[in-house]
Symmetry: C2
Subunit: 196 residues, 2 copies
Amino acid sequence: MRILLATRNPGKIAELRRILAGFDIVGLEEFPEIGDVAETGVTFEDNALLKAREVARQSGLPSVADDSGLCVDVLNGMPGVFSARWSGRHGDDQANLDLLLAQVSDVPDDKLTAHFTCVAALSLPSGESRVAEGVLPGHLVRAPRGSGGFGYDPIFVPDGDSRTTAEMTADEKDAISHRGRAFRALAPIVHELLAP
Amino acid sequence: MRILLATRNPGKIAELRRILAGFDIVGLEEFPEIGDVAETGVTFEDNALLKAREVARQSGLPSVADDSGLCVDVLNGMPGVFSARWSGRHGDDQANLDLLLAQVSDVPDDKLTAHFTCVAALSLPSGESRVAEGVLPGHLVRAPRGSGGFGYDPIFVPDGDSRTTAEMTADEKDAISHRGRAFRALAPIVHELLAP
């Protein structure tokens, strides 16, 4: 059974292949006619479902999509779905991170708790959809550290570790990541709906 | 009975005098030795109580303080207590407003609901404290309008009106404002604890 993962990121595709062994996972590189889906939702679930449904509709394949971001407790869970455009400029990681640090500069250290959240959605061409969530709890540090990862990784330290996620190897980060957790939580749902 | 309002803003003092007729309302201009109180709280209530308690302690008078901000629904209630430093630069109204508009630029118009919130706190020199909240519901507009008020007033339209709060006269805004509502909600508490 083929499943389309709504991404052009080979790392994401390889990760889902490991988690959903037994399925034939393909990425958007096999569907060049499918363009980007606008992420106009206001929750991770909204955006993951928007993408999974649209890609399933256009491809005719069961499709998986995800949306994720950093949720800071003193900001009531923001940047959240706005993580990639927090500074108002989409995809400017440095500006987003700088703004976040400036906003929390007066917040006491012990209140800098945060978590990465990912919601993964499965949509069938019939329209049926299901979602699963993965969370990585931790806290923010004020001085960025590490060159791995992207986005807010240099200022996020997962619970139980002293390194930022930007100081971990890709394998170490994959093992605990919110996206890995969401994909693994989605796996039994995929098996239930699409048993090969 | 004298009550100290923790502000140097004559407009705020006049407003509280109208609402608490029968009390002798004074402002911080009569207590030049009392410095600014750091707003290190993460809720409006935290900050209003921090200020009211500190000012009551230093002055020996029953003291009223308030904290307020703009709460945008798609941002989970943020900027909230961070309203005056949303861009990371404290008190830069234009930068704060520009950032907020950029962040919500992809959000559909019908999801731009928001409210101004104010929490007013009364603290007695004994340490006893009470709080009251005032809310002004409305929505955001993308193009700033009007030159009155301050902060986010040029992009906030209260429910039941078509003007931004920056397009209203000071009297019109006072009549509906979140701060006026919080002060009026606090009035019976002041009378109960401090009946002249």
